[in-house]
Symmetry: C2
Subunit: 217 residues, 2 copies
DNA sequence: GTCTATATAATGATAGAC
DNA sequence: GTCTATCATTATATAGAC
């Protein structure tokens, strides 16, 4: 029924050849970046290099198919695993579920390379944060931001950018493929405490900065 | 003869050929990423492709020379233009001074590609934030963080990652080279207000999250 | 559908003339 | 120092056999 959202792991035999190639491409692109050759992808998929272009037309067509599939997978993960909106709920769900590790790797590469997937992911994150803020304000746990949309953009940019920078730093320090679940755990260990501190009390001792800013409007 | 990419002012006449090649490489790498060929750099420098490798040994040697020069430039900018430590003072100085625009572009590419320059830049940013926090606490304008080093890391990761993600989003939306001073202005326009709000009041209405966290220790 | 073989282009690097 | 010419490699993409 929902074959389109099937997971790659363990179902190599079940999928059509184009789908197997696409899934292999997501893994290889995620591990080695988009500069990797078609040959490496063909080898990972267990097919000949010519067959890749036969099914996807070109390397760019293959990448678009990968982008689209990752997008669809994220939608599925979000729908099935994210009950309460949190700024990073979708990302955490993706990272914590082992089978989705290739998608996090692919996403990280997409953020590094730039492109439409990065932009649409960011817009989705912004929308998620906005929903999270609205619910929190309604529930009384969050202070109402002066400009909810601007606050959502700020949080999406800084949390998203911070998370991916953290992953890049992890990748740069240990050479070799990144263990994303381990990296997420480290991110939580190191960043959660300062984040809660900031989001509870702020950092300034008084409100002169804020007052000045509001007075200028 | 070759007007493909502008080289920093005055360097064409004054500098030695290796320095001119290196400066051209910083511009071209910054505009088009590290996947660009040696030929494009040679053309931008107005020399033959063979001469590039004659002076730098290899493309990787050239990139290392660029990395080192950007590192040195950042040190200079910091020493000459940054009086008061701010989390983003060095970055702002680099961005605001027109002739340093290629360095911001190169840095952005380095952050995307990952590598030693990204790591050392991040470590410098972390140290800067830590100094900023210490001075602010001493002056009474900043609340003392529970763990100053952890707070500095958090702020460096999120401000740095957020800034570079913002630049990447700008680059992804308008195709073509990014106007970094314009992007910095947009970043300030969109992000300063929410940042001040967060850093003044936080976002949570009470301190249960923080209390829970502190109680767990 | 799938493969092997190949066309075409671009790459990093080098050799040798001047 | 600097250039031209060329090497060997690799890339994407395609053609044709099965």
């Amino acid at each position: 029924m929902f074959k389109g959202a099937a997971v790659p792991e363990g179902s190599a035999a079940d999928l059509s050849t184009p789908a197997r190639i696409r899934d292999a491409a997501i893994v290889v692109f995620g591990e080695r970046g988009f500069g990797v050759g078609v040959r490496a992808i063909a080898q990972a998929a267990g097919v000949s290099p010519g067959l890749v272009n036969h099914h996807f037309g070109s390397k760019d067509g293959l990448r678009q198919a990968c982008d689209e599939h990752v997008r669809a997978t994220i939608r599925t993960v979000k729908a099935e695993h994210v009950r309460h909106p949190t700024p990073d709920a979708t990302l955490r769900a993706l990272t914590e579920i082992e089978e989705y590790a290739p998608y996090i790797a692919y996403l990280t590469q997409s953020f590094q390379a730039g492109g439409t997937l990065m932009v649409s992911m960011f817009e989705q994150m912004t929308a998620d944060v906005e929903a999270y803020l609205a619910l929190g304000v309604e529930a009384g746990t969050l202070r109402a931001p002066t400009d909810p949309k601007a606050m959502a953009r700020f949080m999406a940019v800084h949390n998203g950018g911070g998370f991916f920078l953290f992953l890049q730093l992890s990748a740069a320090r240990n050479d070799g493929p990144v263990d994303y679940r381990k990296a997420l755990r480290e991110y939580a260990d190191q960043m959660m405490a300062p984040a809660i501190e900031i989001y509870t009390h702020g950092l300034f001792t008084d409100s002169t900065m804020l007052d000045t800013m509001l007075a200028e409007e």
